[in-house]
Symmetry: C2
Subunit: 698 residues, 2 copies
């Protein structure tokens, strides 16, 4: 990939002296960014432009070409790629649009481009992209008008959309955040985001990678690369359409849409997801700061109002405002003219107007052992305090770096001053009080999550794989999903406890089973056509006598046949009533991008109401499974709040691990639900009361 | 209040030729903003400044003075106020700091200022404020350096903090949103935010009022004024510290902190609360647009990436992207060079580069009957498309206004162009795709909530007030809160159903009562010292026999005396076991600012976990009580989802109304809980299983 960003020679193909020729803009950008290599102009009609010869073909160039940038009509691209092959050019950027997005004709050309590229061993970015920029050597080949207003720095941008990529570049420019490389990947016909990401996690000038994607090419590879990365990766994954959720068959599928699984996967591999440019900017500003070691902030403000707003936001973000040490307060106090204001944290600078004293106070606060980070809220008049403010901010930012604690600075002044300030300072500043605090929290949370990123472990346990295999194979033969009794048996085979239930084909058999289990019992219909049993009257609970069982049997038959006249009722499951325990749901879903994923949540009647679930892509460790449970709102109850008996979380985590092994072992399982699964009081285990497994049909 | 903003003559008191004299800055600001009245300079030492005489006292001025602006040391202010009295000045703005915030000395001066003002019938703003601005007549008396960069307009700002007020002014300037008046209220010793608000809801130039408050002076008056206002009121209420919550005695108090009640009150009176400058700006940009009538947006974009992001945000904000009419699509299609892109909603303008055609398409989309509002995402090059873009945006914004549908415009271009554009356009633009959509949603939600604002009704119902009065009076005499049996009796008196429970003083009496009610029963301890009974083993449920009751009686006695050795156990409540129904909580709390408030939520074990509650300030209508229930996450279950039997919401709403009457009738009730209160299946009513009432001690 390096050759795309550090070519010694570039051919810009598609240049003509015609008005509105877009490829000419590429050449202008190479001039504007002061490209440190050689470039040649190529266009079928030849001619002269910018005082240079336009070659009719790349083969005519009397020099080696490392990179070709192509902006010619789609139909001409295959032939040009052949010429690249002839010339021995191994890297191309195809900016032309109108391939696969243009219907059949376009698709045929696209296929031809791929064929020719493969034959000639050419790797290419695009088509339908705006190309790349390398701020360090001045390579800048977008066909849009650009100005080189970017500071040199460590941020690399990979964007699927040219428009969005450019708006990120605008953000960098306006905040004076340094750029390393930019790449617009377009249709990703050859090089995709993973190819570039894999390069940039190792590239020497990259410090932070920021991506915009509408589609992820290969989820597993993305996770793998991200896990290896020592550099922060920020991703805006758009196109979160929830349509998939609405047509889901199981609870699990309805509660874990594609985007929910993407979200889980990104967390598991340590990618920070963002949704808005504002969040991106917060990350880019705070990530280079020293990491915060605790949650105690010191807030120093020139305006009392901003101090109040800061205190609110600290509480929101889980920071505490540790009271300053008394000795420390006394030292500060000596700086104030009169003791107008009670000094505390937030520290209101009140009638103190001396920048040198500010410097002392901020530095001193940074050094306090019970302060983990400092926020300085600086309101100033540009006319009288501009220079002094610049000096102050640069000074304290340097000291914070030395001391090893994060310091963020909020400035309130007129807008032209803010623009000038951002341009002049070595460090980013904030123009929202909230962002100055939130950004520290965002990075804290990111680092915390990052520390949990793990190499996926192998899950080993005892289980009866063959028994499960046999049932699933027999279902596949019959081209149907497992019935309730079969699904429960598969669970049992994998060590997921179920109730000692039985399968009755007649009313009498049901009574017999009920007597065997002991009353009260539950009856559940078994019919391949009936998935959501309870909605259709296919479940009756708390049956206390033979009479009750017989009555229920007949009612349920009637009820099901009324709603699903063609149902083949194969019998009924007879289960003893489960008592006690917390009703949870445990489910699995095979994701198109990331493979099998597991989900846990509050089960029973609340499942669809609270929609509070926790998802992980398989495989994961037992620690991660514990975290899954602890991420749930209900976790304090499971763990035992206010002297209540805790539930058997250990057994539940065991079930999660066994379920994830089930998903790994049977790639044909598309979805499964254990809902509800009752987690009993500590030491008493779990039991799945109901089961549903959906298989992939071939 | 008008006299504070439209004085014909102003005296600036505190001016001296000394360097760093702050009052001089006030005079500079009057010049900068081109004040249309006469002003005089006053300072004890006299002298000359700005070619004008400095009068030694206001009484020396040979003219009538409508408004005095005071910036002199605190200690001198009472004497100056006397002089104002002598001169007949009726309005003053005291910008001086160092009164109540300065301890005892300051408080004494403050009291003196209040006395003198009262004696002389002077109304004053401040102290400790930066004064007022009226953009329409150039009155601008802050002592900070200001530039008149504000467009004339309809936004009025009332701020408790000078610093925050100025940052709002900066936002207005940078977004080119028009300013009417600004007032910084400081310590609110005489004029408070309500006095100003009451003025501005009627003032002719005010269209939108925006406030920043750290403390609300009078909650009930605020609600009353807001209810009368025909103009949108936006409020940033900071200082949301949650300390109060943590030391709460009842569940209700722990779930409804001061800020939660403030939040409810603001909603009830139609005030839009915001927390960040970004939200303020969104409101200010979208409120002047025509209101949206439905939820169908049309999105038109020059960049495919931005269109995808817009579609995500539409879904987030509950908007649908209605497919465009086929005839309409055909008409648009004729404008495109080639059919490169499939036209739909969002509409990707692709290779179409004609601003006139854009104008046609946007106008046509606005006119579509199945489109309620339009978002235009405009990426452009300032060098080549700047002028045309300005013309386009102004044109379509005007047309949208005529058509009566909201149109928001997002622009992506370089930052200097954005600044210029904001300055030149008559309408605000957005620089975040999300904000362009979110702002429409914010105003939609605000208008929806506003339409529900009601005049508080009188709650009439049959109840036994005297019985409740007698119990409460007897408790007050004993200087203690009602015991469980008394609290339940108060509920009964107000028509809040409870179980047919009985009060047993001995083990034998308990057995007798249990036999009377029928097994199973519940025993609950009654002891004034024991509030959270169940945490201490003071409740046992599901006792099925005489033996069970006796065993429980003795265990509970032991358990309570072990944890609370000094407890005076007065006996036990014996209740039949309640069956079925949804466990809810119904509670009340008397708020310091807004008076009694009612709360409902999910009860029982989930109460502290989900913390999903709904709060209203009393009194409110039955409709509002229904809305309270429907605001809960659990509402679909109560109303009956997926064929389940609905619960008796009607009876629950009845309980809410009765409870609010109880709070109104007994101002001495500080807090009460009915937790749990079981809402039974439809038609079967509600029943409160437990009760706690906390009285105000005198």
């Amino acid at each position: 990939m390096r050759d795309f960003f550090y070519p010694k020679s570039v051919a810009v193909i598609g240049v003509s002296p015609r008005e509105n020729n877009l490829a000419r803009q590429i050449v202008r950008n190479l001039v504007e960014f002061d490209f440190q290599g050689i470039y040649y102009l190529v266009g079928p009609k030849g001619g002269v432009q910018f005082g240079r010869r336009i070659y009719r073909s790349v083969v005519d160039i009397p020099d080696r070409i490392d990179l070709a940038v192509i902006l010619t009509p789609a139909a001409t691209v295959p032939a040009i790629m052949e010429e690249l092959g002839e010339k021995g050019v191994k890297r191309a950027i195809i900016e032309t649009a109108g391939f696969t997005e243009k219907g059949e004709d376009g698709a045929a050309i696209a296929a031809e481009v791929i064929r020719v590229a493969k034959k000639n061993d050419i790797r290419f970015i695009g088509p339908n992209c705006i190309g790349v920029i390398n701020r360090h050597n001045g390579l800048a080949v977008p066909f849009t008008y650009m100005k080189n207003v970017y500071r040199k720095g460590g941020v690399t941008i990979i964007s699927q959309s040219g428009g969005v990529g450019i708006s990120y570049l605008n953000e960098l420019a306006s905040e004076s955040i340094g750029l390393n490389c930019f790449a617009s990947v377009g249709n990703k016909m050859n090089v995709d985001e993973n190819d570039l990401l894999e390069h940039f996690i190792e590239e020497e000038n990259t410090e932070i990678i920021c991506m915009y994607l509408e589609a992820i090419s290969d989820g597993k590879r993305l996770m793998d690369i991200a896990r290896r990365s020592k550099k922060p990766i920020l991703l805006h994954k758009s196109n979160t359409g929830e349509l998939g959720k609405r047509i889901a068959a199981s609870h699990t599928a309805s509660l874990s849409g594609d985007d929910d699984i993407t979200d889980a996967a990104l967390k598991q591999c340590g990618i920070a997801r963002f949704y808005e440019p504002e969040q991106l900017v917060n990350y880019l500003k705070a990530l280079p700061l020293p990491s915060i070691k605790g949650n105690r902030l010191g807030v120093i403000s020139r305006s009392g109002g901003h101090a109040v707003i800061a205190a609110d936001e600290c509480e929101q973000q889980g920071f505490s405002l540790a009271p300053f040490d008394e000795q420390f307060i006394k030292e500060i106090e000596s700086n104030f003219r009169a003791s107008v204001i009670k000094l505390s944290n937030p520290l209101d600078l009140g009638d103190l107007f001396d920048m040198e004293v500010y410097d002392n106070i901020i530095t001193r606060t940074l050094k306090e052992p019970n302060v983990d980070g400092v926020v300085f809220l600086h309101t100033y008049l540009s006319q009288t305090e501009g220079d002094a403010s610049r000096q102050l901010i640069n000074g304290v930012m340097h000291k914070a770096k030395e001391i090893g604690k994060p310091l963020t600075v909020y400035v309130a002044t007129d807008h032209s001053e803010i623009a000038a300030l951002k341009h002049d300072l070595e460090f980013p500043v904030f123009t929202d009080v909230e962002d100055a605090i939130r950004s520290i929290a965002m990075v804290r949370d990111f680092r915390e999550r990052e520390s949990m990123v793990e190499t996926p472990p192998t899950i080993e346990m005892e289980l009866d794989h063959e028994r499960a295999r046999a049932i699933i194979d027999s279902c596949k033969e019959k081209d149907r999903d497992p019935l309730l009794d079969e699904a429960l048996e598969i669970f049992e085979a994998y060590g997921l406890p179920t109730l000692p239930s039985g399968y009755a084909q007649t009313e009498d058999e049901a009574v017999e089973l009920a007597e065997k289990h002991g009353y009260p019992v539950v009856l559940k219909i078994i019919a391949p056509e009936v998935s959501h049993k309870s909605d259709l009257g296919g479940v009756q609970i708390n049956l206390k006598s033979e009479r009750g069982v017989r009555k229920a049997w007949n009612e349920m038959y009637d009820s099901i046949l009324r709603s699903v006249p063609n149902a083949h009722i194969e019998g009924m499951m007879v289960q003893p009533m489960a008592k006690g325990g917390a009703e949870m749901i445990l489910g699995g879903k095979k994701d198109r991008l990331f493979g099998p994923a597991l989900m846990v949540g509050i089960g029973g009647v609340y499942v669809e109401v609270f929609r509070n679930v926790s998802i992980r892509v398989v495989p994961f460790s037992r620690d991660e499974a514990c975290q899954m449970v602890d991420d749930l709102v209900i976790s304090p109850i499971l763990r035992g709040v206010r002297g209540q008996t805790p539930y058997d979380v250990n057994a539940f985590v065991d079930c999660i691990m066994r379920a994830s092994r089930l998903m790994l072992d049977f790639p044909e399982i598309l979805e499964f639900d254990a809902n509800p699964i009752r987690v009993r009081p500590d030491g008493k285990g779990c039991v799945a009361l109901d089961a549903r497994i959906v298989l992939e049909r071939t």
